[in-house]
Amino acid sequence: MKVLMFGWEFPPHISGGLGTACYGLVKGLVHHKQDIIFVVPKLWGDEEPLADFVNASGITIDYRERRFKEIWKSLTYLEVSSFLVPYLGPEEFSRYTEHAMSEGAEVDESVFSSKFEFSGKYGKDLMKEVSRYALVAAQIAKDKEHDVIHAHDWLAYPAGVAAKRISGKPLVAHIHATEYDRSGESVNRAVFDIEREGMMAADHVVAVSHLTRKVVIEKYGIPADKVSVLHNAVLDASIIESSVKKKVPEKIVTFLGRITFQKGPEYFVEAAKKVLDRDPNVRFVMAGSGDLLNRMIERVAELGMGTRFHFTGFLKGQDVDDMYAMSDVYVMPSVSEPFGIAPLEAVRHNTPVIISKQSGVAEVLQNAIKVDFWDVDAMADAMFGLLHYESISKMFKELGSEELKKLKWEHVAEKLVKVYDTLHQNHTAS
């Protein structure tokens, strides 16, 4: 099968989970002998040569093709400016929002030039890039032979839809996160519309969890029979041995992630207070940054636990690994997490995890304690249990790594190939 795949980023140049997931999936598909044409807005040249990579920035659009004009007409809604974007690194997030607020973002004429240099990031010209990407996709679909089209998340949906218009091949819309996951109930209408139209136009929708599938069906009104679930997997299930020694005698309970609404940091803070009231010999760490950081610092001060609750700011690279390794408990109290790969990283560091039931990863990870994100009592109880009753951590360490080994991208890709086959058969039959 020849798959024309549209993403937004690809390792090593990524700013979030989307690129990693695409990488794992492509790797799995290659294992099952699928030919992948992987399109990204910008190629850097140091990507692992797994697929036939196409750099959207290098594509010249042939405006004599009349069908492109039709596509452009349908893209005009993208001119609405938007600054709610997914998968931002925390630092970029604040930089970007400030920038977008002061300057605004709109689509300009350069979209129509025959050459266009994509940034491939989540900058202020995001909507401009998304619509230009769709035009490029149409050109690629015309030039490159393929059997099925696969688009990852809303940024690539207009591209997937445009490609389908040109080639008529079946489209798979892969949903890694919805606008509801990013923004709660205050959704950005423009983004929601792109997501919805992309999934409506798709012949099949793949969600990363049952949780996400439910959102897709209930909030977006996508027919249930065309939405299936493919959980994410891990690239490397090996245990990471660390030489890092913690410098305090107390046990450490860690939150590591963006400090935003979606990640539920306030529930972690409240649970920490309940534990410290009972057992002062624990330290809590909140690692990361985000728009709720200051509010969390204030709340910790208000609760008078500043000497036991620490903020590290944004961590990257080795610091992240060290943080996992130093932790006795890792908590992911997400309010809404389509999948959530971080707890699996914690497991690789032999760190026991508590995850919210509102995360997709809770559907695949058995050796974890699962609580409702809002149930601060249960969360505190789980922390206390992991800190005081030794056997549970021991079991997690023994069984967790075994469990990770079962979460393979080859298995995910195997199921995806079946989806492709069915779509392809239906397509050739009709």
């Binding site: 058995q366 974890a368 304690i369 109880d381 206390f384 005081h388 009753y389 056997s391």
Partner: protein, 409 residues
């Protein structure tokens, strides 16, 4: 003499309420009265009351030629007393017919036989006292251990406690080519008779009766009687041991389980050479055929028929060890009613069963019987309650020592 022996296990644990760590040291009541009461009422309506009525009718109809045995755990008797005195009355009525045997077991439906002979005997005595109290001085003669757990060592202890018959599982790995349909003796104590469960025919009723994917579904009386007729003539006893909750609770009324049981005794007496006996009668009349050796404990649970459902992982082992570390201290507090009650209830095997992590093979059965979402939740809740209990025991012991010191002065 060829005979069939029906034994039904009647048991409900005292489930622990959601007990958070911040309750430790403050809230000393662990039991989930609401769910214990509502589960007891539900099972009483679906199983205990209608099945007791059915058995009473059968015993009267067949004028004593049909008979059964029950083992009712002490924790279950306590809950009958509190929430279902009507059920207790109906059991009394059954026992009064003279064709129902009551077995001895541990008061707390505990795993104490695996840990301490002293605690084990104490619990069996307490159970016998409860049986005597509720059933006009009835004295059990036959013993059955929690979950049919048995080993050579347990056999010896049970004989030392004055019992000459014990029931256990006819586990394949113990029997090998031997048939469970004979009376055996304990290898460790030749005077102790061992009755073995025929798990094939017992589980056909208890587990497979309403399973539509089972090739032999639906199980009719004719089919079952035919299987009994196929038992080789020299095999004398057929022990059908199962949870009493099979009737109406595990197998729902609409599966036809009650109709099946209503018709079975007459069909067996008409179409086979088998009669019905209680375990004590089987032991008395049956000729022991051989000693049976069980060096490693067996049980009637799961495919493995071993202890791994209760003591198979680190969670269970930690909880079990921490609990029994208290044994000596609790013994000193014999007059503290609350401590003794909670000590008994905390030992109930179900708490350990909920912590089982054998997800993939028998996990579905475990999930059905557990009030918790995961074994980890079960473990944390239990350990929280146990942590409070440990504090109470330590405090009570200190108070006792202080009082003693004062009277000594």
């Amino acid at each position: 003499m060829r005979t069939i022996c029906f034994y039904f296990q009647v048991h409900q644990p005292y489930r622990i309420k959601p007990y958070r760590f911040f309750d430790i040291g403050e809230d000393h009541y662990y039991w989930d009265d609401y769910s214990n009461r509502s589960i007891m009422r539900k099972v009483a309506q679906k199983c205990y009351l209608p099945m007791n009525k059915l058995l009473l009718e059968l015993i009267r109809e067949h004028e004593g030629r049909f008979k059964v045995a029950f083992s009712i755990s002490g924790v279950c008797l306590d809950q009958f007393e509190a929430y279902a005195p009507d059920v207790l009355d109906s059991f009394r009525e059954l026992v009064a017919t003279g064709h129902v045997e009551l077995l001895a077991e541990t008061d707390g439906h505990a795993l104490s036989a695996l840990k301490s002979k002293v605690e084990f005997s104490r619990m069996v005595e307490r159970h016998s006292a409860k049986i005597a109290k509720h059933f006009h001085g009835y004295t059990p003669k036959t013993f059955r251990n929690t979950e049919l757990i048995y080993s050579d060592k347990i056999g010896e202890m049970v004989y030392d406690m004055g019992y000459s018959t014990i029931l256990t599982e006819g586990a394949k790995h113990i029997l090998g080519w031997k048939s469970p349909n004979f009376v055996y003796t304990a290898a460790s104590q030749p005077k102790l008779k061992v009755l073995l469960k025929n798990f094939q025919l017992s589980d056909d009723i208890a587990f497979r009766f309403s399973n539509k994917t089972w090739p032999d579904y639906p199980l009719t009386v004719d089919k079952f009687v035919n299987w009994i007729r196929e038992i080789p003539a020299e095999q004398e006893t057929l022990n059908l041991f199962m949870d009493y909750e099979t009737f109406g609770e595990h197998q729902w009324a609409d599966s036809g389980i009650f109709e099946f049981m209503r018709a079975l005794p007459a069909a067996i007496m008409r179409d086979t050479s088998f009669t019905f006996s209680t375990p004590a009668e089987v032991a008395e009349h049956g000729k022991p055929i051989a000693p049976i050796q069980v060096p490693v404990p067996i049980s009637w649970a799961d495919e493995e028929r071993d202890l791994t459902a209760w003591l198979g992982n680190d969670l269970q082992n930690e909880a079990f060890t921490k609990l029994y570390e208290l044994e000596e201290d609790v013994k000193l507090l014999a007059d503290d009613y609350d401590i003794q009650r909670d000590w008994t209830y905390l030992q109930t095997s179900d708490h350990f069963y909920y912590m089982c992590t054998k997800f993939f093979s028998d996990g579905d059965i475990h999930a059905y019987f557990s009030p918790y979402d995961t074994p980890y939740d079960a473990f944390i809740n239990y350990m929280n309650a146990l942590s409070d209990f440990i504090l109470r025991v330590k405090r009570a012991k200190k108070a006792l020592a202080k009082a003693k010191a004062e009277t000594d002065l």
